[in-house]
């Protein structure tokens, strides 16, 4: 980091811009995350609004994925990881004893960087979640859920004649849309996406981005991306993370034309910082 950037980072006591929203779906308050003795996230407060895409950007190791994973307790799987502060979904605390992480992950779904379909048929990939959560009473209902999920993920027309084919037989972009269909099959309230397009070509990426925009009508979406242009295209708000701190949050249209913090400016313009 340059001296000026280091000075600006050290001087950062609180996030620049408004971290709260009027109509929050999820609220993270004063979240610290530690891996063993090492602190990965410092005092992050951020809301995710309903019907909004919030993009999290920042250099590698800035804590954006770590923070995203806190939002559906994916970090529980890492024994050395400790999360403090409070994260709520519709006012319910995620880390309270009453919260069942399995049910939580049905309410807060996640799409990963690499498409990871189960070694099952296309149909079963989507039907798996509704089955284990008992969302369908009979085969016809399950068929409906599978079809509508594939429809909403923009994949149905491409796979309707081969629903019994393995999910892994699809192209990368189709596999990722299958994973999105699988996520929305359990009717989540929030969808978390961790670099969902980084393994895809520009056409598949454009499809997923279009899909993200459509999904926003029904879900709250938080997306981590390394592509600044993608953040600019798909999100309404952008959060910039740097070395574990949330530096700046703001409307995407402002962040990309007139960011307030020097570190945000340095990052999005590709300057040393």
């Amino acid at each position: 980091m340059s001296d000026a950037a280091k000075e600006a980072f050290d001087a950062l006591k609180e996030t620049v811009g408004r971290v709260t929203v009027d109509d929050p779906k999820m609220q993270a308050q004063n979240v610290d995350v530690f891996y063993g003795d090492k602190q990965a996230i410092y005092d992050v407060t951020l809301d995710v609004a309903k019907n909004e895409v919030v993009a999290m950007i920042g250099p590698s190791g800035c804590g954006k994925s770590t923070f995203l994973r806190c939002l559906n307790r994916m970090n529980d799987t890492i024994p050395s990881c400790k999360v403090t502060g409070d994260i709520t979904l519709e006012g319910e605390s995620l880390y309270s004893k009453d919260m069942d992480p399995v049910l939580l992950r049905a309410r807060v779904g996640m799409v990963f960087q690499k498409p990871n379909p189960f070694a099952k048929s296309i149909y079963d990939n989507v039907a798996y979640g509704p089955k284990i959560h008992g969302l369908a009473n009979n085969r016809a209902e399950l068929d409906d859920i599978v079809e509508s999920s594939l429809q909403r993920a923009g994949l149905f027309d491409e796979v309707k004649d081969r629903l019994t084919a393995p999910g892994t037989s699809l192209s990368g972009g189709q596999q990722q849309r299958l994973c999105i269909a699988r996520t929305i099959a359990v009717s989540p309230e929030v969808i978390l996406m961790d670099e969902p397009c980084s393994a895809l070509d520009p056409i598949a990426t454009a499809r997923i981005e279009e899909l993200i925009d459509e999904l926003r009508e029904n879900y709250a979406i938080a997306i981590v991306t390394h592509s600044m242009q993608q953040a600019a295209r798909v999100s309404q708000r952008t959060a910039y993370f740097h070395l574990g701190k949330l530096v700046e949050v703001g409307e995407t249209k402002r962040i990309f034309t007139n960011p307030s913090h020097e570190l945000t400016e340095n990052y999005i313009t590709g300057r040393f910082g």
Binding site: S2, V16, G17, R18, M228, Q229, A232, G250, E251, R254, F256, T257, N258, P259, S260, T264, E265, N266, I268, T269, G270, R271, F272, G273
Partner: protein
Amino acid sequence: MDKLHLDQHISQQFNQELEDIRNRVLAMGGLVEQQVSNGLIALLENDGDLAEQVSKADYEVNAMEVEIDEECIQVLARRAPTASDLRLIVAVIKAITDLERIGDEAEKLGRFAAELSSSNQILEYRKELRHLGGLVRSMLQDSLDCFARLDAEAALKIAQRDDDVNAEYENLTRLLTTHLVEDPRRVTEILKITWCARALERIGDHSVNICEYVVYLVKGRDIRHTNIAADNHKNTSPKNDPNLT
């Protein structure tokens, strides 16, 4: 443009491209300033040769506009600039359009100067034209200067000087109208002098536009079609704006 830290991109080539665009804009500004200056001298000194020269040199200004536009398009397409880089490219694209128009006005000055060089009519209005020309020339010079130095505060002050230009232009128009009524035989010459005054007044307007782009570039605020005087008083930096969203 040191305040924009144009030389601090990780991509050296991008640094070079932006630096090159910046240098070309400054060069184009210099050429346009020279054109206005020469056009004015030609008009005031009845210098037909210089007037011809101004008229002919306008193609250089036009060519520079096209070249800089092309470079800006390349940067937009290949670098997808953001934040201050984006504002720089947008400000440059807009500023060079105004510079090119100023070049056109200078060319008009040259053309009318050449046509009026055989007439003594201009002598009667030399004092007023000199005054108006002086105001406009210094406005243009200062607006280009604040573009080079990225001085948004100065830009706001310079833009306000357009009121003086407009007042002087109206004075001169009144004189010319009266003259026209009193001596209709001189209508062709009087009209040409009026068009010269009009060209100078327009250069003032384009200089205001350049000042507005400087404010946009430096502060990220669009002050076009607003009350610049009021804006100058407010003059809050976006970084201190409590309404940050």
